[in-house]
């Protein structure tokens, strides 16, 4: 699997996800600077990492979506290269229209950093095949703008097409309002594109990859990708 991690000024989970990829896949990913106008043509996976690209001062992800490198990412995604956007990466993917909807300020307006439970809505993708349908996993979140919004029509289309990858849930898997940490519509925590070649999610799989960090629920995602793309 040949992977690349995009580095924007203000990215701050770029190293974390590179470490996770290296641990699982055994090889270091390529780090791609935001000014690159071309994305190598032999990539299998592009990761858009978390952080505060360009400070996120206007809207999270807005400026990054227009960076030179994102044109290349979009072109690669159109060709079917897998794209994984985590946290700020998810925001950038919605702002780039690679994924539908928008990520707004958390319902309670506060930054939230803690572990949350998620249901795996579909194990039928290169990102999630290491999990089982309906499995409950525990991932950390750390965001200020993770409140997923889409209008009714878009939301219905997302649900109809089975594009929801993860939802916030209770430890026992119940998806309800109490488990909805940030006000996201339909408790959506992660979303595929229609072809399931692009995934955006607010929680951080790269932060739970060894026991010292408190768990390993993030490992299957990177293993899934490795298996699918090698």
């Amino acid at each position: 699997m040949k992977a690349a991690v995009i580095v924007f000024p203000g990215s701050n989970c770029d190293r974390d996800v590179a470490v996770a990829l290296e641990r699982v896949a055994g090889t270091k990913p390529l780090m791609l600077w935001h000014r690159e106008t071309e994305v190598p043509s032999d990539l299998d996976l592009i990761v858009v990492p978390g952080g505060f690209s360009y400070g996120d001062y206007l809207r999270s992800g807005a400026m990054a979506a227009h960076s030179p490198v994102m044109a290349g990412v979009k072109a690669a995604a159109d060709k079917g290269v897998r794209v994984l956007g985590i946290c700020n990466g998810f925001q950038i993917l919605t702002e780039s229209h690679l994924l539908p909807g928008a990520l707004m300020r958390n319902r309670d307006l506060k930054f939230i950093c803690k572990d949350v439970h998620l249901t795996v809505e579909s194990a039928d993708s290169d990102f999630t095949r290491g999990y089982a349908d309906g499995q409950v996993v525990r991932y950390p979140v750390a965001h200020h703008d993770g409140n997923f919004f889409a209008d009714d029509e878009t939301l219905a289309a997302i649900e109809d097409a089975g594009q929801v990858a993860f939802r916030y849930c209770q430890p026992d898997g119940t998806v309800d309002a109490d488990a909805n940490i940030n006000g996201s519509r339909n408790n959506i925590a992660g979303l595929f594109n229609r072809d399931r070649t692009v995934l955006g999610l607010m929680p951080h799989p790269e932060r739970l990859i060894d026991q010292h960090l408190g768990g390993t629920d993030g490992v299957p995602m990177f293993k899934s990708l490795l298996e699918a793309l090698s």
Binding site: P9, G10, N12, C13, R15, D16, V19, A20, G50, G51, F52, Y54, G55, D56, Y57, K110, F111, I112, C113, K114, P140, A142, H144, H204, E206, R207, I209, H212, L213, G214
Partner: protein, 573 residues
């Protein structure tokens, strides 16, 4: 007509005696720019004039100490070629005036102190004191400060792994916001601030200079009163994104051999950074102020020298390295300018479009700043509380009261607003005795904590000082770490009052004793005096920040009970 009237001198916070010393040193009347420079250099905040004598009594040495107090941060050896770099610093007054920005820029300042020395910041902590929960302002201040600390640290991408929070009415009008940063540097590649090499270029990097916080350094040392409202526009706005870029750019440049000396522009900005660098190197400096990147039109030399704009660095480079450095800073989209060079004169000469607008001797100003031995009276209340004097409360009620009391209540609401996991190495999150971050790529860890119990210090400054150090030591050992060293943040009232000065002196004595007994030296620190509102002082608060080393993370200890049927043991008296 002279522009320096007695009123102008007074506005700059200089006493008559101090102004006489100014005239002595200058051998003539200073101009306004020069007077402004004296005023910031000799403010309590920059000169430590009341505290210096006592700080010198703290133990600062141990075989593992690489750099003690006096530099931007303290440094200890942590083995395998690495060093831990850390310091704690207050941003009390600005945080009371504008909680979000005050706290945010406090975090920014302490981060700069650490990465200036070549360390990548790996953990932030804080020590917060607010007024009574019943006070009308407290809620707003807590919310603003916590959001500000989070807003800055989260964006920069350094995990906030611990801290402490207390509430007491004595902080109603004067909250304490003490921020600490821990960084890791290669032990053989540490950067200091002493300038060297006559003719070497002095360069400026980071954000542009605006009219932020002019007089800010003097404000941090002046007692609060009703008039502080007028000083409001002196609050600065933090730009964590630029700080993140500055960290990356500085570390990238530090990986080359271009830097001779480096210093962040903290309180008193360009003035204190340039004076400190030149003074430490025993050299002179000539600055061309018109080359300083400016955010606004019409700025004067006075403003440029006194501005406290954030996210700026001053460096001395090796000759010929300007282009290399410029390329790195431009890659990170930061301003960069060569603004002067080192001289052999021992003087600071300020130029403005070719004309000399200031000319001051460096050493007398930087090193001969006033030092006071203020009268002090240490009040020790030796009588302890006796069991039969405490009211009888049924234990269940006592427990619910304790759990519900603001000083013991869960702090989850606070630390869930801090990204405590970014960088992917946090192995003990907030909520335990000490936070622990793994040393990247190893199975070793750094533990850090902040501690102080002000009411103990109030009752008996000596015992309270000891206790604060001992508590920090215990919190480190409780996670299985070997305690290495401490940084401190001495928050007290007006030192011109003998009783307050006594609290300070007593606390120093107690801390020194505990540090000696525990082989736990002080490697850096910060003093914040004049924490009073309308004559009412805060409780004496010598906050201790401490760092320890865990050699094997598999042998670390944590708070949660691990399984049922395990034996519970209580140690100690």
């Amino acid at each position: 007509m002279s522009e320096i009237t007695p009123e102008v001198v007074a506005q700059h916070g200089l006493t008559d005696d101090e102004y006489k010393l100014v005239l002595d040193i200058m051998g003539r009347e200073p101009n306004l720019t020069e007077l402004g420079i004296f005023s910031v250099m000799w403010s309590e905040h920059c000169s430590y004039k009341s505290s210096k004598k006592w700080l010198k009594t703290l133990p600062t040495e141990a075989p593992w100490v690489i750099c003690g107090p006096g530099e931007n941060a303290g440094i200890v050896d942590i083995g395998e070629g690495l060093a831990a770099v850390f310091k704690m610093e207050s941003h009390n007054h600005p945080s009371f005036i504008e909680p979000y920005q005050g706290a945010a820029t406090g975090v920014g300042g302490i981060l700069r102190d650490v990465f200036t020395m070549g360390a990548r910041p790996v953990a932030n902590l804080n020590a917060l004191r607010f007024g009574s929960p019943d006070n009308a302002k407290t809620r707003h201040l807590v919310a603003g400060v916590v959001a500000g600390i989070g807003g800055y640290g989260n964006c920069v991408g350094v995990p906030t792994i611990g801290g402490e929070t207390n509430f007491h009415a004595s902080y109603n009008g004067n909250i304490l916001v003490n921020a600490m940063t821990v960084g890791i540097a290669p032990a053989d590649k540490i950067f200091y601030s002493a300038a060297a090499g006559i003719g070497n270029p002095v360069v400026y990097a980071g954000s542009k200079t605006g009219r932020d916080g002019i007089h800010g350094a003097t404000m941090a040392s002046a007692e609060f009163d009703e008039k502080s409202e007028e000083k409001r526009p002196t609050v600065q706005v933090g730009d964590p994104f630029t700080e993140k870029l500055l960290i990356e750019a500085c570390l990238e440049l530090m990986a080359t051999d271009a830097i001779v000396a480096i210093q962040d522009m903290g309180a008193a900005g360009l003035t204190s950074s340039s004076f400190e660098m030149a003074s430490k190197g025993g050299l002179g400096v000539e600055l061309e102020l018109d080359r300083v990147p400016m955010r606004e039109e019409g700025m004067t030399p006075y403003e440029l020298m006194l501005s406290e704009s954030q996210e700026r660095m001053l460096m001395v480079l090796k000759p010929g390295k300007e282009e290399l450095a410029q390329a790195i800073f431009h890659k990170w989209e930061l301003d960069f300018a060569v603004i002067g060079h080192l001289t052999e004169t021992g003087r600071m000469v300020l130029k403005w479009h070719g004309e000399t607008v200031g000319d001051l001797p460096i050493d007398p100003l930087a090193q001969a700043s006033p030092e006071y031995d203020r009268p002090h009276e240490i009040k020790r209340e030796t009588r302890g509380v006796r069991a039969n004097e405490t009211p009888e409360v049924p234990w269940k009620e006592a427990l619910t009261q304790l759990v519900g009391c603001p000083d013991l209540a869960s702090r989850r609401w606070i630390w869930e607003q801090y990204d405590h996991m970014v960088m992917g190495d946090t192995v003990v999150r907030p909520g335990g005795d000490a936070g622990v971050v793994r040393i990247h790529g190893t199975n070793r860890g750094l533990a850090a904590t902040t501690d102080c119990t002000p009411r103990y210090v109030q009752a008996d400054p000596v015992e309270g000082g000891k206790q604060a150090v001992a508590e920090a030591w215990r919190n480190l050992t409780a996670v299985g770490a070997r305690p290495l060293a401490i940084t401190d943040n001495m928050n007290f009232g007006n030192p011109e009052k003998p009783e307050i000065m006594g609290q300070f002196v007593g606390a120093c004595q107690g801390m020194a004793e505990a540090c000696k007994a525990l082989d736990f030296p002080v490697v850096s620190g910060n003093v914040s005096l004049y924490n009073e509102t309308a004559g009412q002082p805060i409780m004496p608060t010598p906050a201790i920040g401490a760092v320890g080393l865990i050699d094997d993370l598999d042998r670390m200890a944590t708070v949660p009970f691990k399984a049922s049927d395990e034996i519970i043991v209580v140690l100690g008296e």
